[in-house]
């Protein structure tokens, strides 16, 4: 039986996500979170010109979206289509509507209603003091896995696509130039932007013309190892340099590139209208593929639900929200943006093949799927849609994927440095930034090379990354659910997804535990056990907190609780 047309799937998927935004998010904001534009948001309450600044909602949406969208919504779905397109499609589309959108909106609301405090602080307040420590542990592991996994993914891409080497490293020079042009030479930003983006896209044909790669063996090490070493060195340097030099312009240029790439993907699908050749449900999976339930739900984390989003929502976004009502657009629609990236990946990795046999050749083992397939298949799709040569199209997508993975990696190294310093503080040890960076990078290098010199340890932990990420999401949802219960509001739209996410996370951890034990992979076994303990702990703490709310006086609603100072003065102009 012939599969459906990719354009039809795109229209259905985008349609459902938009319906989610226009209908479900409206219900959530009116009945569940009761967003109130009269409430004085933390940005107005504590406006200090640095952390707390009322920001235009379109700008804030752009930030929120680009901060949460990295390589994960590409990697996860590109692996998960191995079970067939239908399960991945359903989980991404309905996950975005009922899980991710609600989660991002809910965490934004929870933080904005609590002086813009982070979820770590909120977990201490609503779930108990142990919640906060748990939070630190989960974040530490999550970042460690992100860094290790993305180092491996990026090195794999650079080995497989030598044409992406020049544009990838050239992008750094473009970013350095943008940073200098803006802060040193005071050039006009729109002009610098146009020049930067054009330079970025000129590098791509250049890379396509001059592929670069390491020799098969250099000083006894394979190319993948060299790339991983270079990437870690880069991550450490980038995280230590002043942000205006590299990270800020790089994030900016990458953000713009994300919008362009997303448009490129969907326009290609719309023009080429290819048929999905992959089976709806794959009954012929390679022998090493784990079972769909529960692994699908942890393989696709970002793009369906991701705890990392809550960290961004409560870390920076909540402090900049101008009106509480903006949380719907910024939080929920930000998740829709990422859902679109995940959906685009599914379409590309299932429809850009001529026959099902060709598709099966690409997916001949569980670990062979992933971002390499996205690059190759995406290249074919852009070639069919926009008529660009296939090699050049692949280089465009490889560059995009490498840049996403690398920016996620350097940001994660920076964040991990802060976490190491924070953990040091709890033990009364002052760790300077160089030592903290060395610790952060050292642990991640050990993890990446734990399964051999080719760095495959980084990819092995991918499902474990998904589980930890989901666990964080569950923790966030429990906080939001407790807040709703205290206000005696409808809490099932939050509680049901929270229970589901905890269930699949624990189930997946147990399945993986057996697998790591059989493989004799002790490092991952230990990590798995730590995460499992954290998961069970979350479950117990959250359940106890929820039971406690039944005996507490309900928190008052706005009409009774908001004082004159907590109301936005009438006539305050919108940003």
């Amino acid at each position: 039986m012939e599969g459906p047309n990719a354009l039809l799937l795109a229209v259905i998927g985008v349609g459902i996500m938009l319906a989610g935004y226009f209908l479900y998010s409206k219900y959530l904001s009116k009945r569940v979170f009761k967003l109130n534009d009269a409430y004085k948001t933390p940005a107005h309450q504590f406006n200090d010109g640095t952390d707390y600044v009322p920001t235009n909602r379109f700008v804030l949406w752009g930030h929120h979206f680009t901060s949460v969208a990295g390589a994960a919504p590409i990697v996860g779905p590109a692996i998960a289509v191995i079970w067939g397109w239908l399960p991945a499609f359903l989980w991404v589309v309905f996950g975005t509507v009922f899980f991710a959108g609600m989660h991002d909106l809910g965490s934004l609301w929870a933080s904005a209603r609590n002086k813009g405090q982070s979820l770590g602080t909120l977990s201490g307040r609503y779930i108990g003091p142990r919640g906060r420590n748990l939070f630190l542990v989960v974040i530490f592991f999550l970042l460690m896995m992100v860094i290790a996994a993305f180092a491996t993914v990026t090195s794999g891409l650079l080995v497989d696509s030598p044409t992406a080497v020049i544009p990838t490293w050239g992008a750094l020079i473009v970013a350095l130039f943008v940073g200098q042009a803006i802060y040193r030479w005071n050039w006009n930003l729109p002009i610098v932007t146009v020049v930067g983006v054009i330079a970025l896209f000129i590098l791509i044909p250049l890379g396509d013309r001059f592929p670069l790669s390491f020799p098969d063996e250099l000083l006894g090490l394979p190319p993948a190892t060299w790339w991983i070493i270079i990437l870690f060195a880069y991550g450490a340097i980038a995280s230590l340099l002043p942000v205006w030099v590299l990270m800020q312009p790089r994030d900016y240029i990458n953000g713009l590139q994300l919008f362009i790439a997303l448009a490129l993907l969907y326009v290609s699908v719309a023009i080429a209208t290819p048929t999905v050749v992959a089976p709806a449900i794959n009954n012929n999976v390679p022998a090493d593929t784990p079972s769909l339930m529960p692994l699908l739900f942890v393989t696709i984390a970002c793009g369906a639900i991701s705890g990392f989003h809550g960290t961004v929502s409560s870390g920076t976004t909540s402090k900049q929200i101008d009106r509480e009502g903006d949380a719907r657009f910024v939080g929920y629609f930000g998740a829709v943006g990422e859902g679109l990236l995940a959906l685009g990946t599914i379409l590309v990795t299932t429809a850009a093949f001529r026959t099902v046999t060709e598709w099966e050749e690409m997916y001949d083992s569980f670990s062979s799927g992933g971002v390499e397939v996205f690059v190759e298949a995406g290249g074919t799709m852009v070639n069919q849609g926009l008529g660009l040569p296939a090699g050049l199209s692949s280089t465009i997508l490889a560059t995009m994927a490498v840049l996403f993975a690398a920016t996620t990696m350097d940001t994660a190294v920076r964040l991990q440095r802060y976490i190491v310093q924070e953990i040091g503080q709890t033990f009364n040890v002052k760790i300077d930034m160089y030592t903290a960076t060395a610790i952060a990078v050292g642990i991640c290098i050990a993890l990446t090379f734990s399964a051999g010199a080719d760095g495959s340890g980084g990819v092995l932990i991918w499902p474990l990354f998904g589980t930890t990420n989901q666990l964080l999401a569950a923790l966030t949802l429990s906080i939001v659910a407790v807040m709703l219960m205290r206000r005696r509001r409808p809490f099932l739209p939050v509680l049901i997804p929270a229970v589901f996410v905890i269930f699949v996370s624990i189930y997946a951890l147990i399945v993986q535990l057996g697998q790591f034990y059989n493989d004799g992979n002790w490092l991952l076994l230990v990590l798995d056990i730590i995460v499992l303990i954290a998961a069970v702990w979350v479950l117990i703490e959250a359940a106890l907190a929820m039971v406690r709310t039944r005996h507490q006086e309900p928190d008052p609603e706005d009409e009774e609780a908001l004082t004159e100072e907590e109301l936005l003065p009438a006539g305050t102009p919108r940003k």
């Binding site: 952390d51 205006w244 800020q248």
Partner: protein, 85 residues
């Protein structure tokens, strides 16, 4: 048209700057603390070969003095004859 362009330009600038506001504020503060230390070094008993120049800056620093010493964890000005509170 021109107002549209200005709004677009301002939005783009905001998009560039906003995520890093805090980092810059912190770096600026650290730099100012260091500068304050340099200017006040003589008064704190640290020999300063450039004191001829920095002494002239003292009156300029008076406004920022209070904010600085409270941030350093000192309730009152640490310098004799240089009181701000």
């Amino acid at each position: 048209m021109s107002s549209w362009w200005h709004r677009f330009s301002a939005g783009l600038r905001e998009f560039y700057i906003a995520p890093y506001r805090r980092t810059f504020a912190r770096a600026k503060r650290d730099e100012e603390d260091l500068f304050m230390m340099l200017v006040l070094s003589e008064a704190l008993g640290v020999p300063n070969p450039a004191s001829g120049v920095t002494l002239e800056l003292l009156p300029e620093m008076l406004d920022r003095m209070h904010e600085w010493h409270t941030r350093q964890g000192l309730d009152h000005s640490p310098i004799e004859g240089f009181k701000c509170c």
